[in-house]
Structure formats: C-alpha cells, structure tokens
Assembly symmetry: C2
Homo-oligomer: 248 residues x 2
C-alpha cells in the first residue's frame, strides 16, 4: 500500500460542503467516486486537512488516501483530473510515508476572506466574495486584528452549535487585512481553527470597521468567552481555505 | 407611455442565452417576469441592443421598454433589482424619448474576449474565461488584429448557420489584444457584429498566435469570404458584451 498526498482546489458554489452526506453532491464524494473508478470498484476513503462548509472555496486543500495502485505521481494527477468534475482540480500529487496524515500532520492553516466593498453588487463575484456596501475603517480593523494574534481561547469566535470537545485555545500567527482597490482581504494563519471561527472573526471585524465596536473590544471578547457577545457569522462565499502547511 | 432605457449586467453561465425560448431560463424572460410583476400582470416586451448566446456575459447590455408606470428613474432601478435574480443586475435606468431604440439607435458596440493562458486550469474562472494552455505570440496576434480594423465584408467570420440576409459589411473601429499577467484580452469595437463573429475572430487569432497561420492570412480570409477557411468558433464563456454606445 502506498499513501498519496494531493493538493486540491475547488469552487465551493455547487457543493454541499466537503464531507460526504447522503444524496448530496460533496467534494469528498466526487473525489471518492473518481478513486473508485481508478480502483475498479473498490472503495477508497480520503482524509482531508479539515472540512469546509457549503459554499466555501479552497485554493490548496490537502487530502491523503491509501492505494495499492502503482501509478507514478504525474499519472495520478492526470488520472484524477480526467475523472473529476470541472469544479474540483488536483494541483499536486505526491507519494508520502504512511506516517503522513492530512489532518494530524498539518502544522499551519491559512484562510482568507474576500469582501467586495462597493455600493453596487457585481454579478460575476456573487459566489466569490461577500458584497458589503458600507464604509469600513481599515485602521480600526487592523488594530482589532492585532489583538487577535497570538495564543487565545477562541470560544467567543466558535459556533455555539460546535460539538467539538476539548480546548478552544488556538494560536493565530497572523490576523491582518489588506485593501486592493474596492477589495478587502482578511488573512488568518494559525495552528488550527474552530468551527465557523474565521466567519465569526470577519463578522466581528466588520462591525469594528463600521464603528459599531472599538478595536479594544476584541480583548474583552477573548476574555469573556461568550459567543453571544461577538459579531454575526459572515456568509460562506467570501471564505477560502488558502493553504495547509506540513513539516519539512 | 414612457420609454425606459436600462443598462444591465448579467452572468451568462446559468442562462440559455438572452432571447425568450419556451421552458428555458433566459435573461429576457427574467426581465419580462419582473416587469410583469411591476405592471400587475400586464405583459411588457423588452428590446435589447442585440442577443447574446448561452454562456455569454454582459457588462453593459442595453435594453428599452415602454411603460405607463410613473416611477422615477431611481425607483425603477430599485424595483427591478428587487425582483431580478442575483445573476442579472440593472446598473442604470433612464427615461428616453420614444425615438430611442436599444437596437436601432446604437452607434457602436464593444465586445471583449478573455483568455486564461496558463498550463493549469483555474476552477474559479471556468465560466468566465477560455482556458487556453498553449504558447501565444502576442506580436503576431497584434499584427493580425491590425488587418481586421476598418470596413470589411466579414462573411468569413460569420456563422454559416446565420440566417441574416443583407450585407455582411461591418466596420471595426478597434481590434486589439492586450496581455496582463497570464490573461489575454481581445477588444473589438465596431458599428455592428455578425452572428458568432467575435468568437470566430478569436478562434482564428488564436491560430495566428500559435503560428498555425500568418497574420497576413487575415487579408486573404476577408477577401475570400468563406467561413470554412477561417478558424474555430471560440467557446462562449470568454465572451463579454462590454458596452453599447448611443448618440449624444
């Protein structure tokens, strides 16, 4: 058996998220369907670095699976892309040691969130950015981002529906926002993320940008650990799983 | 009765083109459905500057219609956008004299065609650019564009399926191509365009870019007036109706 690591990109628009669900079109089910064909009817299970929700996109999601197929890396990439639908694309395929695990070996993840900050909507970007027509103060949002960096308990920025047990302490190596024309892009890099964490962070930061909260309020939210005190969950279409980093 | 002129944008991906067709989702049928609601069940016919095909996009398509509704221009824009689906957007609404006609008053049209010239496809642009992974010689394509400018019989660049009678002489004020990173954009401005004309022009120019034809061959094609001698019809997703110009 050989373990394969794949870096994949997908447009989340027409998927009911990553994870397999009965009767739903998901990224995982499309990948497993392609693998089943390559393995002549044998079921192959894939493991992602983590799930993404309905409508969320990926630039470099990473998965692994085990196979007895002897194809070389280049042929794997060709074979998978020939079988996958046009909204999923395999960018890289690599043989890895069996100690590699797409989820447990990951040491860093990067998410980005794109805001289209114009008065008028753009029909071409409705699935790829969050159209937010209100004025935003970049300086205030940058200050707020600064308070998010470092090791904190992010309970206040985690979905109340989350069923994850255990620590909600995570480390953000970077929380920043940049402006390019009428686009605003938030960048979050960290050792791990809680359910809906990036979207709640963005929802809260937008309230800071509108002047509804002071940047310093972030400190209080981190301390209080109460989801009800933080902002709305921003919609999925602005969110991109941008990269996953592994050792070496 | 008042005549309204509207500038609209649409993402052509999920439409079976502009024109009404039984049982199909088209831009015209969505617009007329919205107008019917505004007019309490009365059918209102709209007239575009011209049709666009399935999968073709519009940045500034222009239409007109007649109405007895007394709303001001700003309210018209709001009312239409509130009723239209998210892949059509009304950018401008204006009262115009009854002599105005979206098709017959137009003095210039601009189309653009976007090529994604990279080895690897981009899942996020599959509906918005033509992925063309082969090397292209910009200098040769620019030379070829130059031969297209001016007043010519464009029969060689018109669909053989075209049922249009009458002259196929058109004037191109501009035919050009520009490169921006891995994007190549063709710009065509003219007094009118034949069926599939831009897509056949692009298909032929790409063959020049690949070295399969000399730029000078364009002169011969214009003279021969034979569709079979020109290039393939480029796919619809790269094509944008960019603007329509009217006098004054």
């Amino acid at each position: 058996m050989k373990r394969m690591k794949c870096v994949i990109s997908y447009d989340g628009t027409n998927f009911s998220g990553f994870q397999v669900q009965p009767l739903k079109r998901t990224v995982q089910s499309e990948l497993e369907k392609a693998l089943k064909k390559i393995h002549k009817g044998q079921d192959i299970r894939i493991f992602p670095s983590g799930r993404t929700d309905r409508g969320v996109h990926a630039i470099r999601q990473t998965i692994h699976f085990d196979t007895s197929n002897q194809m070389n890396e280049k042929s794997w990439k060709k074979a998978l892309n020939a079988l996958l639908p046009e909204d999923v694309y395999v960018k890289e395929t690599k043989h890895v040691p069996s100690s590699f695990h797409a989820r447990f070996s990951a040491i860093e993840k990067e998410y980005r969130y794109v805001i289209l900050n114009t008065q008028e909507p753009d029909v071409f970007r409705r699935h790829y950015a969050y159209h937010f027509p209100y004025a935003l103060d970049m300086t205030q949002m940058r200050k707020a981002c600064h308070y998010l960096e470092g090791k904190h308990d992010f309970t206040a920025f985690s979905s109340a529906r989350s069923t994850v047990k255990g620590s909600k302490v995570r480390t953000l190596y970077e929380a920043s926002c940049q402006q390019k024309g009428s686009d605003i892009m938030f960048v979050f890099r960290g050792d791990g993320f809680l359910y809906h964490m990036v979207r709640i962070l963005v929802g809260t930061l937008l309230e800071v940008g509108q002047g509804k909260r002071k940047p310093e309020h972030i400190k209080q939210l981190l301390k209080q650990q109460d989801r009800k005190q933080s902002g709305k969950t921003a919609p999925p279409q602005g969110l991109y799983l941008w990269d996953v980093t592994y050792p070496e």
